[in-house]
């Protein structure tokens, strides 16, 4: 029986691991990916984490992980398939059939990309990672769908590789920060199309074009690849019936991470909060360990 099973190895989970190790709890981090560090690893550059300006997201993630490892954190590679609440503990089961018993759970499973759910959305050439797949579009045409920081960042990244980049957004203004918007404006091979909703990916096996509806009128663009950056959805499917979620699926919890389920705490992007950033995720991880400590003490375990 563990004191704490931490689910997720992004900044929130790793921060919880650091605090749990230092408080000498018996704890384990369960992660679905081998040697994970969360979504931050995919960011080209992180400029707002205090003390480490201009750090690459991958390096930042590695630093977090090294820190947890140096304090003796135990990791388990496995994807959680279910959580059962018992009288005085939780049973966490994994897709490989194994299970763990724990007094508490710190749930820090993060979010996943929101998928482009239109016909053809599964074709070869529809990507969710510009830094992974951008190189396939050297001298070609790509479309980016979305209007936030990720979408504009992707468009800028691709503009250096592709001959032309369409940036397609469903609203008339971008949500991305002003600095990125200025850069996009100045980049001659990015063509912005606003008030546009993608309706169909054209192609047999791989992407050949994208059909869009602009203010109700349908047209099609000839593109070789489509990069999707339309936000994220919380990985909370397995918590249905375990704790309260808001209408978008985020776990309802305050800064202390306390949820409607005794002994289950929420940290990082999965929690209802105003700002989803590394700095708030890291702080959630620390707070959840304190809440777990109080919970264990109050039960005299």
């Amino acid at each position: 029986m563990y004191d704490i099973v931490i689910i997720g190895s992004g900044p929130a989970g790793l921060s919880a691991a650091v605090y749990a190790s230092r408080a000498q709890f018996s704890a384990v981090v369960a992660e679905k990916d081998y040697m994970g560090a969360g979504q931050i690893a995919a960011s080209e550059q992180v400029d707002n984490y205090l003390g480490l300006p201009e750090i690459n997201g991958y390096e930042l993630g590695e630093k977090f992980r090294e820190h947890a490892v140096s304090l003796g954190t135990k990791f388990f590679e496995g994807e959680v398939s279910g959580i059962i609440k018992n009288a005085e503990s939780y049973t966490v089961s994994f897709k490989d059939g194994s299970t763990m018993e724990s007094r508490c759970i710190i749930y820090a499973a993060g979010t996943s990309y929101r998928r482009l759910e239109i016909p053809g959305g599964e074709l070869l050439g529809v990507s969710y990672c510009a830094t992974c797949d951008g190189a396939f579009y050297k001298g070609k045409t790509a479309a980016v769908v979305g209007g936030g920081d990720t979408a504009l960042g992707d468009a800028l990244y691709l503009s250096k590789i592709a001959e032309k980049v369409y940036l397609i957004h469903r609203r008339d203004t971008f949500r991305a920060n002003k600095a990125l918007q200025e850069l996009v404006k100045k980049t001659s091979n990015i063509e912005v199309i606003l008030n546009a909703v993608p309706t169909k990916v054209i192609g047999e096996k791989r992407v050949e074009g994208l059909e869009i509806s602009v203010s109700g009128e349908t047209s099609s663009l000839a593109v070789n690849g489509i990069f999707v950056a339309i936000g994220s959805v919380p990985n909370t499917g397995i918590l249905d019936g375990i704790c309260s979620l808001d209408k978008n699926g985020y776990i309802i919890a305050d800064e202390d991470g306390i949820t409607s389920a005794d002994g289950l705490f929420a940290a990082g992007d999965v929690r209802t909060k105003a700002l989803r950033q590394v700095v708030t995720a890291v702080s959630d991880g620390a707070n959840c360990v304190l809440s777990a400590e109080n919970y264990i003490r109050n039960n005299n375990w």
Binding site: A42, T131, F136, R206
Partner: protein, 104 residues
Amino acid sequence: MAVRVNAENFNDEVLGAQGIVLADFYSDSCVPCKRMSPVLAELEETYPDTLKLVKININFDGELAEKYEVQAAPTLIFFKDGEEKARLRGAVKKAEIFEEFEKL
């Protein structure tokens, strides 16, 4: 150690090779590719006599990627005696890679 191959020596190193060759199509900037690297190294170390690992950098060898219809990094293609036998697209778990290899 994995060998970097390109369009020029692909025929010799992969198609002309006997046994199993795992071709890793990767990109420098790709985080899932970086994460996959130690897993592939482990596979190579576990089967030193039966597996040959080669890497194709898609930033430089786009034509090979095009020829094999690779449009996501990482993509792992298993060749046996020069013939494609299996393909794994995107980041996959360690167990899946080992399993795929052990089936061949």
